[in-house]
Symmetry: C2
Subunit: 504 residues, 2 copies
Amino acid sequence: TSIGSIAAGFFFAFFVVMCCLTVCSGTPDPSQREVMIRQEVSRQTGGSVQLTGAEQRLDWHLNKLKKQEIAAEQFLPATHFFKARPLIQKSPIFSLLQKMPKGAALHIHSSSLVSVDWLVKNITYRPNCYICFTWGRSLRFLFSSRHPFPSWDCPYWRLLKTLRGNMPDPTDFDHSLMRNLTLFTEDPDTAYPSQDAVWEKFETAFLAISGLVTYAPVFRDFLYKGLEQLLHDNIMYLEVRTGLSRTYELDGSIHDKSWSLRTYQEVTRQFVAEHPDFLGVRLIISVHRALSVSEVKAAVKEAIQMQKDFPEIVAGFDLVGREDRGRPLWFFKDALSLPAELGIKLPYFFHAGETDLEGTEVDENILDALLFNTQRIGHGYALTHHPLAKELSKKGNVAVEVCPISNQVLKLVSDLRNHPAAVLMSEGHPMVVSSDDPSLFGTTGLSYDFYEMFVGIGGLRANLGTLKELAINSLRYSSLPPQLKERGLSMWQRTWDKFIAENS
Amino acid sequence: TSIGSIAAGFFFAFFVVMCCLTVCSGTPDPSQREVMIRQEVSRQTGGSVQLTGAEQRLDWHLNKLKKQEIAAEQFLPATHFFKARPLIQKSPIFSLLQKMPKGAALHIHSSSLVSVDWLVKNITYRPNCYICFTWGRSLRFLFSSRHPFPSWDCPYWRLLKTLRGNMPDPTDFDHSLMRNLTLFTEDPDTAYPSQDAVWEKFETAFLAISGLVTYAPVFRDFLYKGLEQLLHDNIMYLEVRTGLSRTYELDGSIHDKSWSLRTYQEVTRQFVAEHPDFLGVRLIISVHRALSVSEVKAAVKEAIQMQKDFPEIVAGFDLVGREDRGRPLWFFKDALSLPAELGIKLPYFFHAGETDLEGTEVDENILDALLFNTQRIGHGYALTHHPLAKELSKKGNVAVEVCPISNQVLKLVSDLRNHPAAVLMSEGHPMVVSSDDPSLFGTTGLSYDFYEMFVGIGGLRANLGTLKELAINSLRYSSLPPQLKERGLSMWQRTWDKFIAENS
Ligand SMILES: [Zn+2]
Ligand SMILES: [Zn+2]
């Protein structure tokens, strides 16, 4: 974002024109063609990363593996992830990506941090867990020391232990619980014929999960387990979007939000102490875009206060919920201008452009996110349709958080080769990979999303340099203060070197 | 492609940075926001077209209609065209697009110029038409004065008239013939599970059609009928890709290629004489990319000769056939360099980038097409993954021929909102709309493709200015000599004004 970069742009444009004048005469010079091909490759994400000898060996191996996957009858990134998952698990590229130190996960929502498997097999087996079936045939859970009161949508609460005991096949029953807590299904096309259908299930599953994980003792274990699963996937740092729902105890008493913040801090400290390879957790306080302007104003003020009280752990603020049905950022302009008016810095990390409604109000969210000085763009799926916003984001070094599986499951795109991040990647646009709602999509960590990014979105052109840059980006574009960022980068480099040594 | 455009780029970059410095402070100025939104809109295809009062009224009406279609339960451009077609036919936007003067069709292959309905109901009812079923269960046709000899793949030829006479339900039989001559089917997902499957049917249908339309007397009527169907869809000029297959007579004698060229010229002259609203036809001589280098060399030499003999009608040269399975342009470099080496100008109109195989040899076709100085790019589906090629194509004013329905049917993209032309459109990249193989996709003319382009790819942002620019582009980027281009543009303007007067 300086005169330097403008000048570079100027000389590049000059070079292209010269190229054209000398080359496009109808008889291209092979060596000049090579220069142009290499130049195009050098522009892509990771295109200017210099690989060591050992890295080049691994790169060559990865390229060979990728050619095999492209030549196979079924190309997995063109297949719905729910069908592709068992096949991806068998991919040698996937095994390598699992082992690879991937840096940070910068776009995960707290409720979907931990696999559904653990939720059902661990949490729902704890004592005092009640379950109810709503009129809409979805589930609610509640831990309580006495039988919960019926409410309008939960007429009959039953002790889960008793209910499970009465089932002919408890394993089968547990599977049916799991199906209620995730979008994962073997026949996604029939289950989710439209964006509306899949978003409805999405929101229902969230409601079911929330009763389980907002029980204070569970909340603590849930976070710890979440960090374990990330570390197990070779991720070293997390920025989590969280609404900071208030947690409850068996007697129905409710903690304030500071309790949740303190718990995040305590669990993180404990986890880091026990796992020195893990760097930490920071929070992006998120409220739903269905709120009113004055409610969002209050939330912004609250976030400012939280940032003051917990500067170590609070990274910033975001609005969540389906953009297509929610209110656009510009609707909340008075709320979002508050920090600047008060002369306070509250970093924004807006979801923006998670839409295919080109040219609507919703479609302006990306530009507005940038105007409100967002630090990163959540999804930015529509960014390539906005050349001006794209330039602003590139010059301002505002990274896009790409969540391939989320976009596919929520029906923005079916064949991931058509994902707009392929365009951004070819231009070397700042970006990171994330998993959005891993447990809802049947994943943990980032390896599956890295697979889709590397094999599908990146195509044959994406190489180990791309992977390396994506991992480094996740720390570079994190909200970590400079010193911690440096520490994170050198921690990452150590594990990376080890990974290369063991796999090249 | 001058210092002027570089300077413009420079000042634009400067403006963006200034904008960011003054605007991105966290409290955006609403009027500056408006400027930026307008500026982004002005960049898109048609974004700088000034609309008259009457045009603005029609634009307003179109916008209202489009909002209704976006709000409907099923969004048609996200639906496979074969399922969407009956619904598109009911769309008031589609009716308007049918009436709209669309200028020229610049990317249509000759064998699929005329609807399958006419092929079966007219041509197959002519005398002396024989049919055979190959071992692979596809069809072949042949007109012959005596019973044709069996060949290895056509063991039993039968007189179609006799066969049809023996059928319990001739209408049903005719429908089964139609199904063999088109890809159209009501259940495309089952019929075509993969790109390989749909391309196989594609090539089989071509073989079946070719026996019908290369019969000399049919060939003449076929061309005439094709021009009728284009004019009926308010298209005034055609550039057709043709292999110039040699035609045959009842006695088995075969005409040379000059006969086909002369026939194109005669039929066109006759049609223009009878329909003064029609401007003409030019040919892009096309050979299959499965040929050897020396065969392509011979074809290039032949095309040079044809261009010399028929300058009025021969526009240039192209290579056709599935890029993913065929040879890349660079493989033919020695053949394609011939004209430049001989100091002769043979304009190229290359298919390039009709692929999702990012990073492969095939994926270099776009760059190579530009290096060989192509006049337009057929499809250019992969162009947005090639930032350098994209810049060359924009600066060189090399238009992309976008064929939305073709790309959807041939399984490059399912939801047309994800078509890369949406990115190109937002950047005002030079482009035209075409239909590639209309009869194979169950269309005639360009209205269906204009519908997908306007409603799906363009989204709510595309307006009447976009449509106007697309129509003008089709003449601007045609191969017509300057004088004829001028004449075409003023003919188009007259019919456009009439269209606006009648529909605003
Ligand atoms: Zn998200
Ligand atoms: Zn074509």
